[in-house]
């Protein structure tokens, strides 16, 4: 009997090696696993038929991925924590997606794991009572029942969960809401395992799911025949070293966090659709039922997004970056009527890629896809996913409103601070958004060096950094930058802290330590945490180590604390000394109204003499008393505006004799604008 069993096992093992399929280490065998296809007309029927076909497949002896994976791949001690094989079939006419996910997950903790947690992000859009919708206050925007009826909700339904090499787990899941106990929220699923997974061991699951694709409330969904698919598949949370799950609900003010892994995704769509996705296109196969199956694959990524529309025009260009061995392909998916945006996107992309190659390291993947959403899908604009970004363009806006370039540069920057350096966007979003916004400012300063980088309209001109600083300056000092994204006072305080204050803080630090050193630090930090998950503590530790100086005072105040910064000239006085007719006693008092940061000060005398120094000590005020042959003309703190973190520039100087020609000019321009407006208004 034993011999017979051994023989059967031997045959099975040999068979597995001779017919390798997806999921095994050999990646050349995608033809062996073909997802089910359907025509658009048959979509609705096939939704129900799919499980039957799966059964038929097994009965006829075709090899499915999980069988081979189960039998061939040994349990590894190293390698990616997660590996996803996903087959997805988009049923465009009924806005549904049928999916099968084969997940391999390795327990990297020192604790046996008896349950898993998954993100089911799509359930954020299942009704107005979910945590996402409540935080977004959609119920306010859609008060009436009629308005609510018009909303196209979406959801993800789990059809089946099976442990490969184990049993059915479909009955073992429940929804949990670890952040707010909202019983209506189903964005986190907890799955009880039959047996705990020991440390270092790999667990394999097969999950079948069905998506109902919503309208695009935020980042994902469909509008007409434009589909943007983000956060669409069951995604396992991150197991922390203490054995606890890092798996938060989908919040309005937060983005995402996941382990790095390998993704192989088969996407079946009607053949008229143009597809763009994370990763590299490995194979395309046309099917008899007017659909095409695309296979995309990438390693060292932590998410997978894709888009499909029959209206996209695909434009590809290659760039050879400094220090990169291979050319990188930029794939631009342009919406109809956006021809004028082509060069705006491509030029901004090339510039940003070159900037990062020069100052950090070259983009390490082979391809980057830039999605240009149509107007109706604008709510999916301005978002980042590994090797795929969505930018934004509105044809009717003039080119002097430079949002297209800004968004493109910003989103590409995320490929570094979210994609390659896996910052935690749930808990410490500033490590991605803040650092990335800092780089956005640096890049657009170079890119638009001869013009304004945000608005260059005849009556309104502004640089990007000015807009960021203004957003920060309007903050109430009630939230630290580094805190959970959904715990900010409101969306404005989330955005203005995490993006703007953090970026302006880093810009101020850069001005203190010098641009080259700052860029060198980021290069060091990025190399150190490439494909890892740094925390705020790691960032500060890296900064202090690199600078060989303790800058905790700065991070404690402005990142970990809620403080802002405000310097001022409190008073100035020049008194002629009676005994000495040509000598004045000059006195200036500088104050720190809020926060501490080293700052330059300058006193200029009427005879042109300048007295300047840097105020490094931490006292709240500083009195400078001098005896000079001339009285004071003006006193300024931060004369070159090197401390943009100062939230009020108006109190940074005092003069004896006001020179207001700048105000006259500005008032003249405003007055002229008003005069024209009146002229147009009536006559």
């Amino acid at each position: 009997m034993r011999k017979i069993i051994d023989l059967i096992l031997f045959i099975l093992i040999v068979t597995a090696f001779v017919f390798p399929v997806p999921g095994a280490s050999n990646l050349n065998s995608q033809e062996d696993l073909k997802p089910n296809k359907s025509t658009a007309a048959e979509d609705e029927k096939k939704e129900e038929k799919l499980p039957e076909q799966e059964t038929l497949k097994e009965e006829t002896g075709e090899k499915t991925s999980e069988e081979t994976v189960e039998k061939e791949e040994p349990i590894k001690e190293e390698g990616p924590i997660v590996s996803y094989l996903i087959e997805a079939q988009l049923l465009t006419n009924i806005r549904k997606l049928m999916g099968t996910e084969t997940l391999s997950w390795r327990n990297t903790s020192q604790h046996p794991v008896d349950h898993l947690r998954f993100h089911l992000y799509y359930n954020a859009f299942r009704n107005l009572k979910t945590t996402f919708m409540q935080e977004a206050k959609y119920y306010k925007k859609h008060k009436s029942k009629e308005a609510q009826k018009k909303l196209k909700f979406g959801e993800i339904k789990i059809k089946e969960i099976r442990q490969i090499g184990g049993g059915q787990l479909t009955e073992n899941y429940r929804f949990v809401s670890p952040d707010d106990n909202n019983p209506e929220d189903r964005t986190v699923m907890e799955l009880k395992l039959e047996e705990p997974v020991p440390p270092g061991q790999i667990l394999r699951l097969k999950i079948e799911f069905v998506l109902t694709i919503p309208q695009i409330f935020s980042r994902t969904g469909a509008e007409g025949d434009y589909f943007f698919m983000g956060q669409w598949f069951p995604k396992i949370g991150v197991l922390q070293s203490n054995g606890q799950w890092h798996c938060h609900q989908f919040h309005y003010n937060s983005e995402f966090f996941a382990d790095y892994g390998t993704y192989r995704v088969w996407l079946s769509v009607p053949e008229t659709f143009v597809v763009g996705a994370t990763g590299n296109l490995i194979n395309t196969e046309k099917d008899a039922d007017n659909t095409i199956t695309y296979l995309f694959e990438e390693k060292n990524i932590h998410d997978f997004a894709w888009t499909a529309s029959p209206d996209f025009t695909k434009i590809t260009e290659t760039v050879q970056l400094n220090g990169s061995r291979e050319a990188i392909t930029i794939e631009l998916l342009l919406s109809p009527g956006h021809g004028a945006a082509k060069h705006r996107y491509l030029n901004a992309m090339k510039f940003a890629m070159d900037f990062f190659a020069r100052n950090i390291f070259p983009y390490p993947y082979k391809k980057i896809t830039v999605v240009d959403p149509p107007l109706r899908g604008i709510k999916s604009a301005g978002m980042e996913y590994p090797t795929l970004i969505t930018a934004g363009y509105i044809d009717m806006l003039p080119g002097s409103i430079k949002l297209t370039e800004l968004v493109t540069i910003h989103e590409f920057g995320h490929e570094y601070w979210y994609g390659i350096i896996g910052s935690d966007e749930f808990r410490e979003a500033w490590l991605d958004e803040g650092v990335n916004s800092f780089f956005e400012l640096e890049i657009v300063d170079e890119y638009f060096k001869d013009s304004y980088s945000l608005l260059d309209l005849p009556f309104l001109k502004a640089n990007d950094w000015e807009a960021r600083r203004t957003a920060y300056a309007y903050l109430q000092p009630v939230d630290p930058v580094a805190q959970y994204s959904w715990e900010f006072l409101d969306r404005f305080h989330y955005g203005s802290n995490v993006y703007s204050k953090a970026a302006i803080f880093l810009r101020t630090l850069k001005n203190l330590i010098g641009k080259d050193r700052m860029y060198d630090f980021f290069k060091y930090y990025a190399e150190k945490y490439k494909f890892k998950h740094p925390s705020t503590a790691d960032f500060i530790e890296a900064f202090n180590t690199f600078m060989n100086e303790d800058f905790s005072w700065a991070f404690d105040q402005f990142i970990k604390g809620e403080k802002g910064l405000d310097h001022a000239v409190h008073s100035l006085e020049s008194v002629k000394i009676a005994a000495k007719p040509d000598v004045y006693k000059n006195e200036v008092v500088f104050v720190r109204k809020e926060g501490y940061f080293p700052v330059e000060w300058l006193i200029t005398l009427e005879n042109g003499k300048e007295i300047r120094s840097v105020w490094r000590t931490r006292e709240k005020w500083k009195k400078i008393v001098t005896r000079d042959p001339a009285p004071i003309k003006h006193a300024v703190i931060d004369p070159l505006y090197k401390v943009p973190l100062d939230r009020n520039f108006l109190n940074n100087s005092k003069v004896y004799k006001p020179t207001t020609s700048g105000f006259k000019r500005l008032s003249a321009k405003i007055g002229f604008f008003f005069q024209n407006l009146l002229g147009f208004l009536v006559f």
Partner: protein, 282 residues
């Protein structure tokens, strides 16, 4: 052709005083914006060095943002005053344009005393014409309004960018002439009221009939007006690009007033052309 001739003829007539008269009231109502903003700025930051840095080390955007954050009350007060000034100017423009039309229609000497006297004399009849013409404006809004409503109602169209672009062009092509005709009806009802001194509804009716029987001539007049304004705007854009920040504030201010004067000159030319047309075409 008649419209073109009327416009060109209007350019050569004595338009300086009516132009200055119209400009003066516009300037008067704008003056407090010039001064008001200056006072707010000087009050908030007059004793600082920031005025010297505006548009230099820091941009106007940052300056205005800091001012509005730190002197927000004064700025919002100024904004409210500006709205009140605009409303008041609305009434004053009825007074002023009535005077100019009256002098031009009566072929009187274009002296300031005549312009003021005519404005006073005709204010109430012009106000009535304005009120009656609300019907005209409502009618003018109906077609573009319905088009816009229908377009926005059909979501598949309004969210389709190509459709939106095509609609915008078509809508503009329809709306601009409709509004030009509405302006012409308002102008001509004032002219007929001054010429014939009859009931305001009669004037409006006659103006409508006149506009519909002289469509092409009026289109020519308004086209000439639009082209002239466009040329003026291009000159301003060039000035703005190359010279604006180099000139002393005084010269800058004077040039601004020059632009406004030319705008009113062109409006007076249009007024003359409309009167000419009523005389040529009977």
């Amino acid at each position: 052709m008649k419209g073109l001739k009327a416009f060109l003829k209007g350019v050569g007539l004595k338009n300086v005083r009516p132009t200055v008269y119209a400009w003066f009231f516009n300037f008067f109502f704008s003056l407090f914006i010039y001064l008001g903003y200056y006072w707010v700025f000087a009050g908030a930051a007059g004793k600082t060095r920031i005025a010297a840095d505006v548009a230099g080390e820091i941009g106007i955007f940052t300056f205005l943002a800091d001012i509005s954050q730190n002197s927000g009350t004064s700025l919002s007060l100024l904004f409210s005053l500006a709205i009140m000034a605009a409303v008041l100017f609305f009434l004053v423009s009825i007074f002023v344009s009535g005077g100019i039309y009256s002098v031009l229609v009566g072929d009187e000497r274009t002296t300031f005393s005549n312009l003021i006297a005519s404005s006073v004399e005709n204010f109430f009849s012009m106000l009535k014409i304005f009120l009656v013409n609300i019907l005209n404006w409502v009618a003018a809004l109906i077609i573009p309004g319905i088009l816009l409503f229908l377009f926005l109602k059909i979501e598949s169209l309004s969210l389709n960018e190509t459709a939106l672009q095509i609609f915008t062009y078509i809508w503009t092509a329809i709306t601009l002439p409709v509004f030009a005709f509405a302006v012409a009806i308002y102008d001509l009802s004032r002219i007929f009221k001054l010429k014939e001194d009859k009931n305001v509804f009669y004037s409006l009716k006659k103006a409508i009939a006149f506009v519909f029987s002289n469509k092409l001539n009026l289109v020519a007049v308004f086209l000439m007006y639009a082209v002239s304004l466009l040329v003026l705007f291009l000159i301003y854009a060039i000035f703005n690009h190359f010279l604006e920040d180099l000139l002393y504030v005084f010269f800058l201010f004077m040039i601004y007033q020059g632009f406004i004067l030319v705008r009113y000159f062109l409006k007076v030319v249009v007024m003359r052309a409309e009167i000419q047309l009523t005389e040529i075409t009977g």
